[in-house]
């Protein structure tokens, strides 16, 4: 029972992290129908900017509690800057192209962003741990955890809920759904599809940057750190169903719990189980657990 509690807790913590990384990816795929590999670069930029701002404000002698505000500020700045630039300058030119073109383009953007990071912040690891340690610790089943880990879980639930509400319960969401379903008809009835694309991609970029910013206090940001996270995020949305917010949540939970289970019971297999689960889902249900079968348009 004690082991089960620990596994559940570890799995949920990891699931929260995974959800924050992958929700923007699935959102962008849902609306724009592109696999956005540059998501990982924006995620890294969010983490770097948040860390940089938090270090700066601590260096200025401000209250360490302000670092939380800096994390958010970092995510907003990066989301608002990278989102519109990448969508308007690059992606807009390749809508409707083959998937491999978008993959190559967004992968190139990812590599460029990774190099830009090094030009701006250098190659030495950067980290700010105050937001992680400031809230203190508590114990479950005799094992200490940081309250910040609980914050991550709560934020991912609230953030995920807010996104679902934004898509399902608002006028903007209804317009987005209409664009998802049929771009041409939406355009014909007067929806500014280009604007919806820009806003949706920027929202996806903000999600990526927020994921990076919130995870930054638990890690050290170094060049290349986002690559593995991006690969895992793809596994999560492949399991959950590309384009589905609920799918991202469920995928993150499955991957998180499987990994925690493996670490505690079969540490050698901690990665294998994740990709085994992905293969299993893709074989049984290729569109993912919450994915919808794409109809062929004539």
């Amino acid at each position: 029972m004690r082991l089960l509690t620990i596994i559940l807790m570890d799995g949920t913590v990891f699931a929260a992290v995974l959800f924050l990384i992958s929700v923007g990816l699935t959102l962008v795929f849902g609306v724009l129908r592109i696999l956005n590999v540059s998501h990982g670069g924006i995620y890294a930029f969010g983490a770097y900017m948040a860390t940089y701002l938090a270090i700066k404000i601590l260096g200025a002698g401000a209250s360490p509690y302000l670092t939380y505000l800096m994390l958010l500020a970092g995510a907003i700045i990066i989301g608002m800057v990278t989102g519109p630039i990448i969508e308007r300058v690059f992606l807009r030119r390749i809508y409707g192209s083959d998937q491999h073109i978008t993959l190559l383009l967004t992968f190139s953007i990812f590599l460029i962003l990774d190099d830009l990071l090094k030009l701006i912040w250098g190659t030495k690891p950067m980290f700010v741990s105050q937001p992680y340690t400031l809230l203190g610790e508590f114990s479950i089943a005799g094992i200490p955890y940081s309250w910040y880990q609980v914050v991550l879980i709560v934020v991912s639930i609230v953030f995920g809920g807010a996104l679902v509400w934004a898509v399902r319960g608002t006028r903007f969401g209804k317009i987005v759904v209409s664009v998802i379903n049929d771009r041409e008809i939406s355009q014909a009835i007067g929806i500014n599809v280009n604007r919806i694309y820009t806003v949706s991609f920027t929202l996806g970029a903000f999600c990526a940057a927020l994921g990076g910013a919130l995870i930054a206090p638990t890690i050290s940001v170094t060049p290349g750190f986002a690559l593995d996270a991006t690969v895992l995020a793809f596994a999560v949305i492949a399991i959950g169903g590309m384009g589905s917010l609920e799918g991202a949540a469920l995928g993150a939970l499955i991957v998180g719990l499987l990994r925690a289970l493996a670490v505690h019971l079969l540490p050698e297999a901690d990665l294998v189980v994740i990709y085994l689960a992905m293969i299993l889902v893709l074989v049984v249900r290729p569109e993912g657990l919450f994915g919808q079968v794409e109809l062929r348009r004539i």
Partner: protein, 433 residues
């Protein structure tokens, strides 16, 4: 137009001419202060290969600063045998296949005289046969796998620092002297050759040196994973007396960051084989009482005492002044490689009485002993260098603003490296106190 051109450029040309004359006049006291042996090339072109992108860039940055500092120093002193060094920098990121191509490019296009570098074991193993085929003198500075010089005999490849097995044995010896009553051990290492080999050697060394030691956990994380929550929980639940980890760079910082607040360092004695490298980055986050090593390197910036060792003083102060950071163990190992190459060339020049061939440099390198800030390094005939190493325990230094090493123990080369002719794994498996 022509008049304007003349009037503007004329004075500059005169100035340039005067400058050239002054330089030429100064030449005898600088460049030719060292007699150039006959047949000496105009410059000695050397490739330097290390990580400048990806997670390994944290090591490459130290390798590069040490190289810049040292090559500038050598060149200001006249280079090697009066020949200045020219460095061609290559990024080690991109995988073994890319490194093989890069080495071919260095040898065939850049026509380098030698190559210094390679941090990754996968890369050094991949390039070694190519270096032999191309007959390029290659001085490996950091790569840890013992297989580099043991799998097959090497002629053109040298390694100027200890292997990863030495790191594990050094830690085992240190922890058993500091905590002789250790009963349980666990490992948290990355799931690739470096992590697996490091843990395996540590586990065997512990079991050889204290046969009643029990292994209560073996954790394998993804390369530079960012999330260690579950692993930390497992280590907290297993409560081992000692935890061994070969995490490095950003992954190590993240692990310390996540494990510290959750009390792992209070519960168990943790050992980090590369811990010295991140002390300056971790600042106040690294808790006291953690056993850390600069792998099995014979120095870190405070030991040997710079006040008593001029070579150490010059390196530490020069590096810190120029780059704002004290040299860490990748910097010391880079120093070992460059100084070894220089010493080999100088010995070969002396022996040949002219500029030596690569084969003559190789002959001079074998059996050579040379001085570095990290002590005397000796190159064995099997092209594997041997030297001692230090291990210590962290203690916050308010003066430096980060943890330094306390209770430093200096292990002799014989304690941390197999004798010539003995395979590393056989040696670890037959260790004696």
């Amino acid at each position: 137009m022509r008049g304007v051109f003349k009037s503007r450029v004329g004075p500059w040309l005169s100035l340039l001419a005067v400058g050239v004359l002054v330089l030429v006049a100064a030449l005898p006291t600088t460049v030719t202060s060292q007699a150039r042996p006959s047949g000496a090339p105009a410059e000695l072109k050397i490739g330097f290969v290390d990580f400048f992108s990806g997670a390994g860039a944290t090591f490459g940055a130290s390798g590069k600063t040490a190289t810049e500092w040292l090559v500038d120093k050598y060149n200001s002193e006249g280079g090697i045998g009066g020949v200045k060094l020219k460095v061609v920098i290559v990024d080690e990121a991109g995988g073994p296949d890319k490194q093989v191509t890069e080495l071919r490019r260095l040898a065939l296009d850049e026509k380098v005289n030698a190559v210094v570098g390679y941090t990754s074991s996968a890369n050094c193993l991949a390039i070694a046969p190519v270096a032999e085929e191309l007959k390029v003198l290659t001085v490996v500075h950091i790569c840890g796998t013992h297989r580099l010089t043991e799998d097959r005999p090497v002629k053109y490849v040298f390694r100027t620092s200890n292997t990863q097995a030495s790191d594990s044995v050094a830690l085992a010896r240190y922890v058993l002297s500091a905590k002789p009553d250790v009963k349980t051990i666990a490992g948290a290492n990355e799931d690739y050759a470096w992590g697996r080999d490091s843990w395996e050697a540590f586990k065997i060394a512990m079991q050889r040196l204290k046969p009643d030691v029990q292994v209560v956990g073996e954790l394998w994380t993804k390369f530079q994973a960012g999330e260690y929550s579950a692993e930390i929980s497992k280590l907290l639940a297993a409560k081992p007396d000692v935890i061994h980890s070969s995490f490095w760079g950003g992954g190590l910082i993240t692990f310390v960051n996540q494990a510290g607040p959750r009390g792992l360092f209070k519960q168990s004695q943790v050992l980090f084989s590369t811990g010295e490298q991140v002390l300056q980055d971790l600042k106040t986050i690294m808790p006291d009482g953690v056993i850390v090593a600069p792998r099995t390197t014979g120095a870190y910036f405070l030991d040997p005492d710079p006040a008593k060792n001029p070579m150490q003083k010059e390196f530490v102060e020069g590096h810190h002044k120029r780059f704002g950071r004290y040299p860490d163990y990748p910097a010391y190992r880079t120093y070992q490689a460059w100084s070894g190459l220089k010493a080999a060339y100088e010995k070969a020049i002396k022996q040949a009485g002219r500029w030596p061939t690569t084969e003559e440099v190789i002959k001079a390198f074998e059996g050579l002993s040379w001085e570095t800030p990290s002590g005397t390094i000796t190159m064995r005939p099997d092209h594997q260098a041997v030297h001692g190493g230090i291990v210590g325990i962290t203690k916050m230094s308010p003066k430096h603003g980060f943890a330094i090493l306390d209770r430093v123990v200096r292990l002799r080369a014989d304690d941390v490296a197999p004798p010539l002719g003995t395979k590393t794994l056989d040696w670890v498996g037959s260790l004696k106190k």
